[in-house]
Symmetry: C2
Subunit: 419 residues, 2 copies
């Protein structure tokens, strides 16, 4: 067994033992750990910022691009954000132990379901050091042990944060192995982590599509994944025109780089001439490049012609593809074919169409008369999210504390035997 394998297995074994402890820790102990971690991060702010400075300098020397350096950078404001996030998680209700309903059965037994932690969660992420705190805190509050593997660019920052987490766990009388940060920067550590099915219950990767595809392909442990977001807004011919323009504008321009940003606008032929010209002006004022189908280009002469690939593209940029469709059925066919299953929204005043769209569109979030930008854990009231899942099984859409738990059956008898 290589040294790396031995190291990863020992992390796994320790996490599995720690998982039994944190699964049964009461809410008070978990909250005390989280509060102490928050206090530690406040106290250790200068140490964390110095460690981050080392990472930033190394990153610049290694030629990391500006976007990556921006994600890597910590400053006082970002550290304060981490602390604020921790205190929000303290305030969230503890999902563990919840029993919704207990039913009596004809045999006399009482049957219910109890919410319990998943066990050991492996988080694989790129250069953002704040994920270390966020992920550790959400896993801890939901009663799970975690193994965190951040990008090697952030290793000093992550280690400084990990020290605060250890101190918080210790102060609450909990084993430090509940949160373990992978210390080696060996890239094979990820390959090992995603195959340790005897120690790890689920892998949550956070990062670009390439990382996530590779992990999904190679993992033996189940993966809760968010692949990408090709989100659609469909403007129905029975839409309120002002509302349609406002939602279509917001869904694209409120932020460009997020997964819930609209990438393709579908417009019913019956309303296209009434909304597209003005909408195009609004987009042009924000320098959004428009790529349209043939009918769109007839209405908007300045529009570029879209090519086949445009309908499957997650631009994450001020670019929008626009397609004029016959009706809602054509819109749903387009979505069925091109959507990544993340978020779609219809703008309509028609009750039946709203109900059909909600029912028939098979994405993790389906909306009526609202901007796709609402699809996230905070906006949905989960109080934080570890990611957005485009899986169908287990957790779908924003994954908060409940998504990090599962349910077991409990049976209460009084000497009942099966006849």
């Amino acid at each position: 067994m290589s040294e790396l394998v031995e190291y990863m297995q020992s992390l796994g074994e320790r996490a599995k033992q720690a998982a039994r402890v944190i699964a049964n820790a009461d809410t008070g102990a978990k909250n005390k750990a989280l509060e102490t971690i928050a206090n530690e991060i406040e106290t250790q702010q200068s140490t964390i910022l110095e460690a981050n400075q080392l990472d930033m300098e190394a990153g610049k020397q290694n030629g990391l691009d500006a976007a990556l350096l921006d994600r890597l950078e910590l400053n006082e404001e970002r550290v304060a954000g981490m602390v604020e996030g921790l205190r929000q998680i303290v305030a969230l209700p503890d999902p563990v132990g919840e029993i919704n309903q207990i039913n009596s059965r004809p045999s006399g037994i009482k049957v219910g379901q109890m919410r319990v932690p998943l066990g050991v969660i492996g988080i694989i992420y790129e250069s953002r050091p704040n994920v270390t705190v966020d992920a550790a805190a959400l896993c801890l509050k939901s009663g799970n042990a975690s193994i965190l593997r951040g990008g090697s660019e952030a290793k000093n920052s992550n280690q400084a944060i990990a020290n605060c987490i250890s101190a918080g766990l210790k102060a609450a009388g909990l084993p430090e192995e509940i949160v373990q940060v992978v210390e080696t920067t060996d890239r094979n550590a990820v390959g090992e982590l995603i195959r340790m099915e005897s120690f790890v219950d689920v892998i949550i990767p956070r990062g670009g599509k390439g990382l996530i595809e590779r992990i999904t392909k190679e993992a033996r442990v189940p993966v809760i994944k968010h692949l990408h977001g090709v989100c659609h807004v469909y403007i129905d011919d029975e839409a309120d025109k002002e509302m349609a323009k406002s939602i279509a504008f917001n869904a694209k321009t409120q932020r460009y780089g997020t997964c819930n940003t609209m990438e393709t606008l579908l417009v019913s032929e019956g309303i296209a001439k009434d909304v597209l010209p003005e909408l195009a002006k609004m987009y042009e004022a924000e320098d959004v490049e428009l790529r349209g189908c043939e009918k769109t280009c007839q209405i908007l002469p300045n529009c570029l012609e879209a090519v086949a690939e445009d309908w499957d593209e997650e631009y994450l940029a001020p670019i929008l593809s626009i397609r004029v469709v016959d009706d809602m059925d054509s819109a749903m066919d387009h979505i069925h074919q091109h959507s990544s299953g993340h978020t779609e929204s219809i703008v309509t005043s028609d009750y039946s169409k709203a109900m059909r769209f909600l029912r028939e569109v098979d994405s993790s979030s389906v909306m009526v008369n609202a901007s796709t930008r609402f699809a996230d854990g905070f906006e949905y009231g989960l109080g934080g999210e570890i990611g957005i899942s485009t899986n169908k099984l287990h957790a779908r859409g924003p994954v908060g504390l409940v998504g990090l738990t599962t349910q077991k059956y409990i049976v209460l008898g009084e000497g009942h035997i099966r006849q």
Copy 2:
């Protein structure tokens, strides 16, 4: 592309198209299809029995063992059981479209979750032809398309049943591709099915541990699996002795071959001398072979000595391993180490121990003062089950109609945009 790959892909494509139709079919249409299938099976009984006769003869010629032939065999009673099962599924509530709660958020949007089908379900099973009807009916009622791959020994029986299913779907105006039976007996069809992640949403294998381990290892599609059942009963020193004996006897002897049968009995040292001798007599009267730890053998001189492997064995036979433990903590340690995560039960009169056992034992079913034999979908009120899952993610324990669905977020707005 080989002929087999082409064939399987075409099944997949058709299933994916049909999935959109059945996902949106109303409860009436689904029930009409199920009722017509039941009527067809009644009408076609002699054709089905003749087809089964062909399979039985071929099976005998190919030297299948008696247990396999028994599972393969259909008779009037078993056909009546299939029809009865279908009518029970008609009577079950439709889980699709259920919305439990819609919450208002500070932004003004309303957020809820709607229950929706998984999509396309692949079922891989061995020689029991009744699984063809059961699985097809549960998938259909939960709004899913299914691809069924039964054992090649049952091919004539399965085809005769498939004809009845097609007729039922047709009568209800639904596409026949909602339920497809794999017609080739080529063993590579399974390998293809479990890797078609663009067409198949989940694989449910039903069969022996070997089949399930192989499928889990090779699948690219998520698998809802039931690996095996090493179930425990723990008799606490504060147990009612009569109750303890009655539950421990029932959990082992009510049926030997089922996954929820107890395989290891754990007994607290404080009560072992009071319950084991009489319990041993009860087991001996049923010819159950006892294999005990050292302390057990001191109390029961006729007991065989257990070896290390006994603690991990799923006997599925009149054999029981018995271990005397110090207390409940030792019992839970033993369970943590040796359980397959299926079902464990404690017999105790102590409230705190009952609560701790329920909370701390990490299995799909955890019981107090009840026989492990209750762990199944009918006893829990699911009205039928497609299997019992020992997975942690998604469905855990008996999987009924709800386990064949997932939830998507729905957002109701009135022109809301993100600030």
